[in-house]
C-alpha cells in the first residue's frame, strides 16, 4: 500500500545511508571471555566476575546510524515514541524527527536516548545493550593491557575527561582503540547498560521491623570495592539515578551480540 509518509522519509534515508555506511563497516569487534575484579563486588562473593565472550560495537551508535533506525522504525521517531519509553528530552537536539541538527552530526554519538530506545536500536540489529560487567571488562583495558586500572597515569587520564567542562557539541566517534579494538569507552559519552537500574541495589532483608530494609531481598549488599576508580564509580552513580525512560545530552550507547561462530 502506498504510504505518503514513506515518500517524505526517502531523502532523509538516502542521506543517512550515505553518511552512516563508513561507520557501519567498522561494525563489531570480538571480546574474549575474561575475569575481572568488578568495582561492584558482592559481600558474600568477592571472587572475580567471569564474563563470557561477546562482540561489541567498536564505537558508540552515531546520530547518522540512529537516524537510519528511526527512518525504518517510525514508532521510535521523536513525537511518536510513547511516554512510557521516552521522556520529553528524547532526540531534542535534532532539527526535526527525521533531520539531524547539521551535516556534522552524522558522526557524532547519538545521545538524548532512553534505555528503551537504546534497547530497541540494538534489537533491530540483532543485538542488545551490554551488561555492566561486559562494559566494565572492556572499559578496564588500555591500548596494550586487558586491565590497566592499577596504573595511576591511566586513571588520571580518564579522570581528566570528567574535569573538562562539557562541550556544546560532542566530538565525532572514533578515538584511538583499546586492546580489543573498542573506541570511545572513556572520554566521549556515558553509556546505557542493560542492567543500569540494579547497580546500586544494596541492603539486607533479614528483619521485618525496618521498612527500608524490606525493600531488598537476597544474599546481601553489593559493596563498592575499588574506591580508587572514581571514573567508573561516577558512571554507576549516574546510571543508578536514571529511569529507563530518561535521556540526557551526554548519555549514549553501544550494542553487543554473541560472537559469530
Amino acid at each position: 500500500m502506498f504510504n505518503p509518509n514513506r515518500l517524505r522519509a526517502l531523502p532523509a534515508l538516502a542521506l543517512a545511508l550515505a553518511a552512516g555506511s563508513a561507520r557501519a563497516d567498522e561494525g563489531y569487534v570480538s571480546v574474549p571471555a575474561g575475569k575481572m575484579a568488578s568495582v561492584l563486588a558482592r559481600d558474600a562473593n568477592e571472587a572475580p566476575t567471569a564474563v563470557a565472550s561477546f562482540s561489541m560495537r567498536a564505537t558508540p551508535v552515531t546520530q547518522g546510524e540512529y537516524l537510519r533506525f528511526v527512518t525504518a522504525h517510525p514508532e521510535w521517531r521523536r513525537g511518536r515514541a510513547p511516554k512510557t519509553f521516552t521522556d520529553p528530552g528524547y532526540l531534542q537536539d535534532w532539527r526535526s524527527p527525521l533531520a539531524l541538527a547539521d551535516a556534522g552530526a552524522t558522526q557524532r554519538p547519538v545521545t538524548n536516548v532512553s534505555w528503551f530506545a537504546a534497547q530497541a536500536y540494538c534489537e533491530a540489529e540483532g543485538a542488545r545493550l551490554p551488561t555492566w560487567s561486559e562494559w566494565e571488562l572492556v572499559a578496564a583495558a588500555d591500548a596494550t593491557r586487558r586491565d590497566a586500572r592499577a596504573d595511576p597515569a591511566w586513571l588520571a587520564r580518564i579522570l581528566g575527561w570528567y574535569a573538562r567542562p562539557a562541550q556544546a557539541l560532542l566530538p565525532a566517534v572514533g578515538s584511538a582503540p583499546n586492546l580489543y579494538g573498542v573506541r570511545d569507552v572513556h572520554g566521549l559519552v556515558w553509556e546505557w547498560v542493560d542492567d543500569f537500574n540494579a547497580l546500586l541495589v544494596s541492603g539486607d532483608s533479614r528483619s521485618a521491623d525496618d521498612a527500608d530494609k524490606l525493600k531488598f531481598c537476597g544474599a546481601g549488599a553489593i559493596n563498592l570495592q575499588d574506591k580508587q576508580n572514581y571514573a567508573v564509580l561516577m558512571r554507576i552513580a549516574l546510571l543508578s539515578s536514571l529511569k529507563a525512560s530518561d535521556s540526557t545530552g551526554s548519555l549514549g550507547f553501544r550494542c553487543v551480540r554473541p560472537l559469530s561462530p
Binding site: 510513547p82 540494579a198 531481598c217 544474599a219
Partner: protein
C-alpha cells in the same frame, strides 16, 4: 473524500488492526501506559498471558522469585492482606500479577508449586514468567531494580504497584507486612474509576 486522506485512513486502520490484534474494540493504550510494552507472559498453569489481559480493570503488579526465602513470601502475604482490606465485591474485580525475576529457575512447574504452597486465588492471581530480556524491560517500566548476586539469590527492590484500568501506574507501596492504608485507598479509587466488568 480526497484519495490521499482515504489512503491515510486505510493505513491507520491497518496499523491499528495489526497492533491491537483481535481486540478491535480497544483503542491503543495511552502513551504513558505500561501496556505500551508487549510482554509475552506464561502463568503458573502454562497458559500464555498478555500483560494487558485485564485491561479495563485495575491490577496489582509485583515481581519476585520463588527461591527467595524471606521477603517474597512476605510480599505474597502483603498483597493478600491488601486485597482482604477491600470489600468482597471490590476484591472480585482486582487481579494480581506477580512476575519472576528468575526465569531460568522459575519454570511453570516451579511457579505452580509456589502458587499451591502460598494458596493463592488462581481465579484472580497469576504467578508468571517471561524471558530474561522481557523481565528486564518489565522491571524497567515498573521502576523495580534487581540484580543476580551469583549464589542463586537476587538483590531487588520490593514494590507493590497499582495499575489503573489503562495500565498507568496509579500507586506504589514498598511497605511489607500489613496492608498499607494509603495504598488500599488508591486501589479503591482505581476500582471506582473503572467500569464494573
Amino acid at each position: 473524500m480526497n484519495p490521499n486522506t482515504t489512503r491515510r485512513t486505510l493505513c491507520a486502520l491497518a496499523l491499528f488492526a495489526a497492533t491491537t490484534g483481535a481486540a478491535l474494540a480497544a483503542p491503543p493504550a495511552p502513551g504513558d501506559s505500561i501496556y505500551q510494552l508487549d510482554v509475552p507472559l506464561t502463568d503458573q498453569d502454562g497458559r500464555p498471558l498478555a500483560l494487558d489481559a485485564h485491561r479495563g480493570q485495575p491490577i496489582l503488579v509485583s515481581m519476585f522469585y520463588t527461591s527467595c526465602k524471606f521477603v517474597c513470601p512476605m510480599l505474597v502475604d502483603t498483597i493478600r492482606d491488601t486485597t482482604m482490606a477491600l470489600s468482597e465485591a471490590e476484591r472480585a474485580r482486582l487481579n494480581v500479577l506477580i512476575v519472576s525475576f528468575d526465569p531460568a529457575k522459575d519454570s511453570v512447574p516451579v511457579l505452580k508449586k509456589a502458587a499451591e504452597q502460598r494458596s493463592i486465588d488462581a481465579r484472580r492471581w497469576a504467578l508468571a514468567r517471561t524471558d530474561a530480556a522481557h523481565t528486564r524491560k518489565l522491571a524497567a517500566v515498573l521502576g523495580i531494580q534487581y540484580r543476580a548476586v551469583g549464589n542463586g539469590d537476587f538483590n531487588h527492590t520490593t514494590a507493590l504497584i497499582l495499575l489503573d484500568s489503562e495500565g498507568r501506574i496509579a500507586g506504589r507501596s514498598t511497605r511489607l507486612g500489613k496492608a498499607d492504608a494509603a495504598f488500599v485507598k488508591l486501589v479503591r479509587q482505581a476500582l471506582k474509576q473503572a467500569a464494573p466488568n
